[in-house]
């Protein structure tokens, strides 16, 4: 049902990462691939943006000052309908077994370990955010 509502517009993605370079890099790549892109530097700013926009996918880092990625995801999953059900892709340098388990417990839909190449980023984001009909 969410997919049907969004059918008439570009897919839109929020990048939540404290590194401006990473945001810039993802932003450029995703925009080139046809996505509408917003950025946030931590969970707090991301929460604001999530309420203001209609996203199809959130890309979230773990380690961020202010509000970290896992707390943000746990919080998201307990929000109202459209927001709680947003697919979340976690991209982080934390590659340990426990990190992945923690992310899964928090409600992350997919997990990628940095560095992620442009091609891989696009491949995963287009799959998870869906294809505009």
């Amino acid at each position: 049902m969410a997919a049907a509502e969004n059918a008439d517009r570009r897919r839109s993605v929020l990048i939540v990462d404290d590194s401006s370079l990473v945001r810039l890099y993802y932003h450029g790549a995703l925009e080139k691939a046809g996505f509408a892109v917003e950025q946030a530097i931590n969970g707090i700013e991301a929460t604001e943006k999530v309420f203001a926009h209609n996203f199809d996918l959130l890309i979230v880092d773990i380690n961020m000052p202010g509000m970290d990625g896992l707390s943000f995801v746990r919080d998201m999953r307990r929000r109202k309908e459209d927001i709680a059900t947003l697919p979340i892709l976690m991209i982080t340098t934390e590659a340990g077994e426990t990190d992945i388990v923690d992310a899964r417990d928090a409600g992350v839909n997919y997990y990628l370990i940095k560095p992620v190449s442009e091609a891989d980023l696009i491949r995963h984001v287009t799959a998870l955010a869906g294809t505009p009909p």
């Binding site: 049902m1 969410a2 997919a3 570009r10 404290d18 590194s19 401006s20 370079l21 990473v22 810039l24 890099y25 932003h27 450029g28 790549a29 925009e31 080139k32 691939a33 046809g34 996505f35 892109v37 199809d56 746990r74 998201m76 999953r77 307990r78 929000r79 309908e81 927001i83 709680a84 059900t85 947003l86 697919p87 979340i88 340098t93 388990v101 899964r104 417990d105 409600g107 992350v108 839909n109 997919y110 997990y111 940095k114 560095p115 992620v116 190449s117 442009e118 091609a119 980023l121 696009i122 491949r123 995963h124 287009t126 799959a127 998870l128 955010a129 869906g130 294809t131 505009p132």
Partner: protein, 743 residues
């Protein structure tokens, strides 16, 4: 060499051949989406497997070529001769590297440098075009992502951001370049990586004066600043912009994408649902899982399954039950497995149509040797059955033994033929590289010629096919270089500008006839005669007596055709004697026919398999020897009065030619009683390397079909013998290598 590497080598060779064929077809017949796609995929696979066996240099070149072909595929770049030449050269390089890798397990030391140059050339073709089509942006390579991770998470001004890839030339220090100083000059350097361009060689091989570095950096600098810093080494630097670009290209459904990602996504959603601990996030959890799964399913064009998941989500919302979504996802996961398999089968089917089994050549050879020995064993049984007949008389026993022997005989013969068949390969394998040869030579010589190939389906023993490549290459090259005239010369003499070279094969019984024919200027017999005279090849009178046809055959003699000797004669050039030698070693014959101004044809007449030989058994010095029948032109019984003595040598006149006589026993250094000069001598006239010699023997016994076993162990180096076989009565027979004997 491990199995993976072996697989890599055979697969790569096949892909190179296929891509070569396709490239030339595209050049000739123009853009063909299917062919272009096949070429692209071949390069893509080659690049991938080069990465798998860890040959970065090879992957680098192929990557550049792949990008170029992607542009062709997207019709952003026309198919030109220059482009095809570059792509073919790239394949040549890769092919040479694969050979090196096969031989030594590594690429040659200068591979990295070569790869760079080749990649630059390929990229140059690509960027030229990009300028013209107005899309200056290059897609950012994968290393950029890795480098970005090095940058501390400080906020940087949203100015221009560039990534630079700088690979100093190995000889850069001698050009006065200082890579370190250049990098130090970059303003706002954010991240830097310095790594060896090629793996460091072992210490003794290392050249401390060669630069083997790849330097990559990210900086908040402008393109102009970069251009200024690297102005002296622009060819060694690639710059990528990191700032967001605004060229949206819709991401279409990834129908061809591998199903692995889809599988992973579904499995992750199930795992995430299983990880649920609290109830208050259950709604967001299964909701997001269903959305992510449905998105992915639609993306991979599995709308049916996506609808299934979405329906389950509606029901789950209504009943507040996460398990409905989980069950639906489990269903999808198991449903994905089956249809995907079907897809795999579909993609595998083209390969299956040409079903073959790769077997190590050594195994076939050992099977072949065994079957050869079986024939020898069978021969002795035949001998025994003849011996036993008078003993047991005309009774049932004799008849049964004979019948059993005949059955065995026919079965073993059949089996041997079947094993020989295993070694047969179609000549198309041999012919495959010739269109390429003709194309390249035409470009180089500024000539226009078309090559037609016929009879590629004819089969021949692998050994023969392998040895034939060089001679055919000589013949085709010569035809183009010396036979075919330049286009304007052809026009003037009223011929079509496009010359014709034919490469034809046909099977005639157990012989294979190969013909290389051109419609060039032909061979001038007078010029050949003059050259033969100049070289003192034959006495004047003999040369004058030669018919035009016979004179033309002189092009095969060693004295006439060595390096460059004939290039000024209309007709053939270098190495025709080598061609003839190879053909003769294979037990074949070669002949040329030519008409001045009309064209030339060279015919090779070869045995289809080299393994089974007809042997003549002769006696000399009290021993028996085998003599290959294909060399024997005739046997002559000489009365003493026909033998004339010239100093210490003997000879006789055979059809107006003086033929020297050699005693086989003497040639082999066998102790024997001095030849009784009064007794009529028995000589075998053999033709070797254009010379005729009469071998004197004591007696000639029967002929036999034999499989030669190569000389082994201590005897392997005995040059006079080509192998052994067994005579019918079970004795070992040494078979003479007559060519070696008189070389």
């Amino acid at each position: 060499m491990n199995q993976l590497q072996e697989q890599f080598i055979s697969e790569t060779k096949e892909l190179i051949l296929q891509a070569t064929d396709d490239l030339m077809a595209v050049e000739r017949f123009g853009f063909d989406a299917e062919r272009i796609d096949r070429i692209f995929r071949a390069f893509h696979t080659l690049k991938g497997s080069a990465g798998v066996v860890d040959l970065p240099a090879m992957a680098l070149v192929l990557h550049a070529a792949e990008d170029l072909l992607a542009a062709v595929k997207a019709k952003m770049r026309p198919v030109t001769t220059a482009l095809v030449s570059e792509a073919l050269q790239c394949l040549d390089q890769v092919s040479a590297w694969v050979d090196a890798f096969e031989a030594r397990g590594a690429l040659p030391p200068q591979a990295g440098e070569r790869a760079r140059d080749a990649a630059l050339r390929l990229r140059a073709l690509l960027s030229d075009n990009k300028k013209s089509s107005g899309t200056p942006d290059k897609s950012r390579p994968d290393w950029v992502a890795a480098l970005i991770e090095q940058v501390p998470a400080t906020d940087i001004s949203a100015g221009p951001l560039l990534a630079v890839d700088y690979e100093p030339l190995p000889g850069c220090f001698f050009n006065g370049d200082d890579p370190l100083a250049l990098i130090a000059a970059i303003p706002e350097l954010l991240a830097l990586s310095v790594e060896p361009r090629d793996p460091w060689p072992p210490l003794p091989d290392m050249d401390p004066f060669a630069c083997n570095l790849r330097i990559r950096a990210i900086a908040a600098a402008t393109r102009e600043q970069f251009a200024g810093i690297f102005r002296l080494v622009p060819d060694q630097v690639e710059v990528f912009e990191l700032a967001p670009t605004t060229a949206p290209a819709a991401a279409g459904p990834d129908v061809n994408g591998s199903g692995a990602l889809l599988d992973n996504i579904i499995v992750c959603q199930i795992a995430m649902l299983d990880a649920a601990k609290a109830a208050d996030d259950s709604y967001g959890r299964y909701g997001s899982a269903a959305r992510a799964a449905a998105n992915a399913l639609r993306h991979f064009a599995r709308d049916d399954l996506a609808s299934e998941v979405e329906a389950a989500l509606e029901a789950a919302f209504a009943r507040q039950s996460a398990s409905l979504v989980r069950d639906a996802l489990r269903n999808v996961a198991s449903g994905l497995a089956a249809p995907l398999e079907a897809n795999d089968r579909e993609t595998a089917s083209p390969a299956a149509s040409n079903r073959s089994l790769r077997i190590d050549e050594a195994r076939i050879d050992s099977l072949f040797n065994l079957s050869g020995e079986l024939i020898v064993a069978k021969n002795s049984l035949a001998h025994l059955s003849r011996l036993i007949e008078p003993v047991v008389g005309e009774g049932d026993l004799g008849r049964n033994i004979r019948a059993a022997n005949e059955t065995l005989d026919s079965l073993i013969t059949e089996m041997h033929a079947a094993i020989l068949q295993l070694r047969m390969v179609p000549l198309s394998q041999l012919f495959r590289s010739f269109p390429r040869v003709v194309r390249d030579l035409c470009l180089r010589l500024d000539k226009r010629a078309e090559l037609t190939i016929q009879g590629g389906a004819a089969e021949c023993d692998k050994k023969v096919v392998e040895r034939l490549f060089e001679p055919l290459l000589h013949l085709v090259r010569n035809a183009l270089d010396h036979g075919i005239e330049a286009p304007d010369e052809r026009r003037e003499s009223g011929k079509p500008e496009l010359a014709h070279i034919a490469l034809e094969a046909a099977r005639a019984g157990d012989r294979l006839v190969l013909e290389v024919r051109d419609d060039g200027r032909g061979i001038n017999p007078a010029a050949v005669r003059a050259k033969a005279l100049e070289r003192g090849l034959m006495p004047v009178a003999e040369i004058a007596a030669l018919s035009d046809e016979d004179a033309t055959q002189l092009i095969f003699s060693a004295g006439l055709s060595t390096a460059g000797a004939v290039t000024d004669i209309s007709g053939r050039g270098v190495g025709m004697d080598v061609v003839r030698n190879t053909v003769e070693q294979l037990g074949g014959k070669i002949a040329v026919t030519s008409r001045l101004g009309v064209g030339t044809s060279v015919r090779l007449d070869l045995p289809i398999n080299v393994a089974m030989s007809q042997i003549m058994v002769v006696a000399a010095g009290g021993q028996l020897f085998g003599l290959p029948m294909d060399l024997v032109s005739e046997t002559v019984r000489l009365t003493p009065d026909r033998v004339s003595r010239i100093k210490n040598n003997r000879g006789f006149v055979l059809r107006n030619r003086i033929v020297p006589i050699c005693s086989l026993a003497e040639v082999l250094d066998l102790t024997c009683q001095p030849a009784d000069s009064q007794a009529p001598g028995l000589v075998i006239v053999v033709e070797v390397g254009g010379k005729i010699v009469a071998l004197e023997v004591d007696a000639i016994h029967d002929r036999l079909d034999a499989v030669l076993k190569p000389m082994q162990g201590l005897l392997a180096n005995a040059p006079a013998y080509s192998g052994t076989t067994m005579s019918a009565d079970g004795r070992v027979l040494l078979v003479l290598d007559v060519r070696e004997l008189f070389s």
